[in-house]
Subunit: 282 residues, 2 copies
């Protein structure tokens, strides 16, 4: 993204770019892990970029955060303890804490700069990081799940792409540890890339999860700011089936003020397009 | 799109742009209705642009064309006659003709230039326009449905945006005529814009369709080349309900070589995100 451009452009695979009309650059910093930027746009609110890739836009972050949080949390019969790995912008924690059953939500983010920049510039997502039920730890998520004695009902892997600091979050050892920290009805979901542009990411996660968990699936959503719009999450659990064991009445009873997720969307998101289904050998 | 750019950029609402890496410009012509262009890209194959807006990309056109055709054609118990209004690129006709029950598919396209440019440069979509079951008429679709004595089981409104030559396709008079040309179990689906960026389009169609048809709904898909990825179709019928009357076994039995649509996707596409549902007063 050039300094003088009127567009915050993200180029992807050298074949496509998406640009948002720029109003103002608010912040740019470099951590030991990555470059973190916040810009203000016309039409999409503020954007958080990591290494030049849009992670959050104020206009549409609700889609990603509702789908990563409410699918596992409305499936689990009574989620009390939740672990979020990555997600230093706070949007996932905000959605998790909407569930009244949740007593404790631990966020393990490797990069303090993501948290501090989000707290300063993105209260929309980071506002709930100071909730009394939220615990923010600046620490390597891989190390955390290897060493912690705590157990969680839901683990959410809210990571960046499968290279750089997030690389090990796409490995077998990590998911064996995730299984270890999950309670009996435990569920894990993970950011899994673009089915159109990088089907290998969800294929790879699927291959890693299958020998570790008895139930493995994938689900999709669409937002404005990720390349190609369509995006995948991997799903795994110790037994709960994402659609058959889902109870729509829980969603209706909760009456959360959501903009994307609802009981129909929950089930519909697991209806995988034919090319995705074939890639996952379903 | 500037002549020297290495990107085929589409700017949208002044707030977002999507660019595809350009290899070569193949064609640019001006009809009485609009500007028609074909360019070759790196990574997305050839694109068809109308008035600078991407209508078709070889990489992902299958999503749009499968979803506009197979949802009504697998819902209808025995579609024999199909009318396509717009869609001069031929992609919709190609998908319609995959159904063995279809005896005749009439394409009514207002702009001869769209058909001729597609036939020359986009055989992937236009290849089936010469099928013996296909009839191509260069004519105003609004006038056609007002005057024809023919009846159709399915009408597909494969239009451009609700301004310019397609404006009247977003009106009550047109849909009353569509109802008139539909047989007893008739179904109509229509391109209905971006829910993220122009929710008014699907809201408006919904408002127009409700007094005319007993069953009205909407469904969604995502592709790479339309602004915001997520896109809507309006659905209306004389009685068939899009999910409850749908028989998945017909899809399985047909064994079509599809890349996006399948029986689960059919039902899942009608699961509308909360903000869309609210906009349509569901």
């Amino acid at each position: 993204m050039s300094a003088k451009s009127r567009w915050a452009d993200e180029e992807y695979q050298g074949i496509v770019r998406t640009g948002f009309r720029l109003k103002k650059r608010l912040f740019k910093g470099k951590s030991p892990f990555q470059t973190v930027e916040v810009v203000e746009t016309k039409g999409h609110g503020k954007l958080l970029l990591i290494d030049g890739m849009t992670m959050v836009s104020e206009r549409d972050e609700f889609v990603y955060h509702e789908m990563i949080a409410h699918v596992p949390l409305f499936l689990h019969p009574r989620p009390r303890r939740v672990l979020v790995i990555g997600g230093g912008d706070g949007g996932t924690v905000r959605e998790v804490l909407r569930h009244k059953t949740v007593e404790r939500c631990v966020l393990v983010e490797i990069d303090a700069l993501v948290v501090s920049a989000s707290k300063k510039f993105l209260p929309l997502t980071a506002g709930k990081l100071s909730d009394r039920r939220a615990v923010v730890r600046i620490e390597d998520g891989v190390k955390f799940v290897r060493e912690t004695a705590e157990r969680f009902d839901v683990v959410i892997v809210d990571s960046t792409e499968p290279f750089g600091p997030a690389k090990e979050l796409f490995g077998t050892a990590f998911y064996k540890d995730v299984k270890r920290v999950l309670t009996e009805d435990g569920v894990v979901v993970s950011q899994a890339g673009s089915p159109f542009y990088e089907i290998a990411t969800i294929k790879n996660l699927d291959r890693i999860l299958k020998p570790v968990f008895p139930v493995v699936d994938a689900y999709l959503f669409t937002n404005l700011t990720y390349p190609g719009g369509l995006w995948a999450f991997a799903f795994a659990s110790k037994g709960l089936r994402p659609v058959r064991d889902f109870r729509p009445q829980l969603v209706k009873a909760a009456k959360l003020p959501l903009k994307w997720y609802n009981a129909e969307v929950h089930a519909g998101a697991f209806a995988l397009p034919e090319f995705v289904r074939k890639a996952l050998n379903r």
